[in-house]
């Protein structure tokens, strides 16, 4: 049945309503506050976006297969803490590994991504081979990683980082902050994986219909493990970036970031019902989310009330996404 223009307009407004409202908010804030739409503020927003984009790109893979990853926030914390323990100044009074010289930054990053990736692979194994629903498997992994991180760090905050680690957050290349470059590179690599590799095709096939994908010869189980391992490695990278930015880390680093990342993906067009989503969806979603948070700050909205605003946005975005699926069905 051919849709009328009115119906098409209606559908467009409902499907993209959240983005439209957020842009109106941003434009309103730009008009009423002269220092909102400035290069300095734009730079700040891009910097905030960079680690969140890395998380969103990781979680997008899980969401595309109609799964979720509740352990993202805890794995970010684990990544930040491991990086923190390996990159402290040798003369720091509260040094975690006394006497150990600070590690090479790339080796530390590899260790962080390796350990975090292993946590994701374990979640993927339980989902793929033991048929545990993703929300239970990642809920359990969230607890295990939290407990493991508490034991590893002895629940003490970390600090005293070497300059070359904090330079990841303050340094620039061709005038652009290193963290923004990292996010751009991760986005390009993720785009390549999603669109140019067999693994990417498998992901979309599983998200569309896992039974049909299995019958068609897709290695569903191994793909699930790779998806969750890859996602967790990216959370580890995000934890590394956040630790550099904050100059410190604790077990609570990354708290709640997974829900924001899922909401950002959904706002941008990654469907929680599976089978749909692009890298650009995650980029748009994260950009809109960060712009909204910055706008709310400039408008003087109470910091506690901002949590409510974020929660409402998450609620609306996911409801609209499920509505799209129900209407299509």
């Amino acid at each position: 049945m051919e849709k009328t223009t009115t119906k098409k307009m209606q559908d467009f407004l409902i499907n993209y309503g959240v983005i439209i409202i957020m842009f109106i908010l941003v434009i309103y804030t730009g008009i009423t506050h002269h220092n909102f739409l400035t290069i300095g503020n734009f730079n700040n927003i891009l910097l905030n976006m960079s680690s969140r984009l890395v998380i969103a790109l990781g979680i997008a893979g899980c969401v595309i297969t109609a799964g979720c990853d509740l352990s993202a926030g805890r794995i970010i914390g684990l990544g930040g803490c491991i990086a923190g323990t390996l990159l402290q100044k040798i003369d720091y009074s509260g040094k975690f590994y006394e006497g150990m010289p600070p590690m090479n930054i790339f080796v530390a990053l590899l260790i962080v991504m390796g350990v975090c990736g292993a946590c994701g692979a374990i979640s993927g194994f339980f989902i793929a081979y033991l048929s545990v629903p993703p929300f239970i498997a990642t809920l359990a992994m969230m607890e295990i990683v939290y407990g493991g991180n508490l034991i590893y760090t002895n629940a003490t905050p970390l600090g005293g980082y070497v300059d070359y680690y904090t330079a990841v957050s303050t340094g620039r290349f061709i005038g652009i902050n290193y963290q923004i470059w990292i996010a751009v590179i991760v986005a390009i690599v993720t785009w390549f994986i999603f669109n140019m590799t067999r693994h990417g095709k498998y992901m979309y096939a599983i998200g569309g219909n896992p039974q049909a994908a299995e019958v068609a010869g897709v290695p569903v189980r191994m793909t699930f493990i790779i998806i969750y391992a890859k996602a967790a490695a990216m959370y580890g990278l995000a934890g590394f970036m956040l630790g550099a930015r904050a100059g410190g880390a604790s077990v609570n680093l990354g708290l709640g970031y997974e829900m924001e990342a899922i909401a950002a993906c959904t706002i941008g067009g990654v469907s929680v019902t599976g089978g749909r989503g692009k890298v650009s969806s995650a980029v748009i979603g994260v950009a809109v989310f960060e712009l909204m948070k910055a706008a709310l700050q400039y408008l003087g909205v109470d910091a506690n009330a901002q949590w409510i605003a974020i929660g409402v946005i998450i609620f609306i975005a996911i409801s609209l996404d499920i509505r799209k699926y129900v209407v299509k069905k």
Binding site: A66, R74, F126, Y129, L130, S131, V132, P133, F135, I136, A137, L139, A140, M142, E143, I144, Y146, G147, G148, L150, I151, N209, P210, Q211, N252, T273, G274, Y325
Partner: protein, 107 residues
């Protein structure tokens, strides 16, 4: 220890307890597989839906109780808390797999 500190330490196992306990009770009450525990297009019939719901509900409640125990153990020994939740999750997963094979979808 203040209430804030207690909550800071235990909110994750409390969340896990709440989610899995609610899901478990829901399964026991409705007597069938809830939509959030299956793939969206998976309409395959189950071998025994009633037993699937009963066993699944009990397993989820078992996991919830494991999370609650972890909550308590966090105040005594972190290693014990970690070992406990790992053991609970492992047993839960193996029993879930067995349940899927015995009463799960046909085909």
């Amino acid at each position: 220890m203040t209430l804030n500190e207690i909550f800071d330490m235990t909110w994750i196992p409390i969340l896990a307890f709440a989610l899995s306990f609610c899901a478990g009770v829901h399964m026991l009450i409705i007597g069938k597989r809830p939509p959030y525990l299956k793939n969206k297009d998976d309409n395959r019939p189950l071998k025994n839906e009633a037993m699937y719901a009963k066993t699944g509900g009990r397993l989820l409640i078992y996991f919830a109780l494991g999370a609650a125990v972890m909550c308590g153990l966090l105040f005594f020994n972190l290693w014990m808390a970690l070992a406990e939740i790992v053991a609970v999750f492992l047993t839960f997963s193996v029993r879930w797999r067995e349940m899927e094979e015995k009463y799960g979808p046909i085909g």
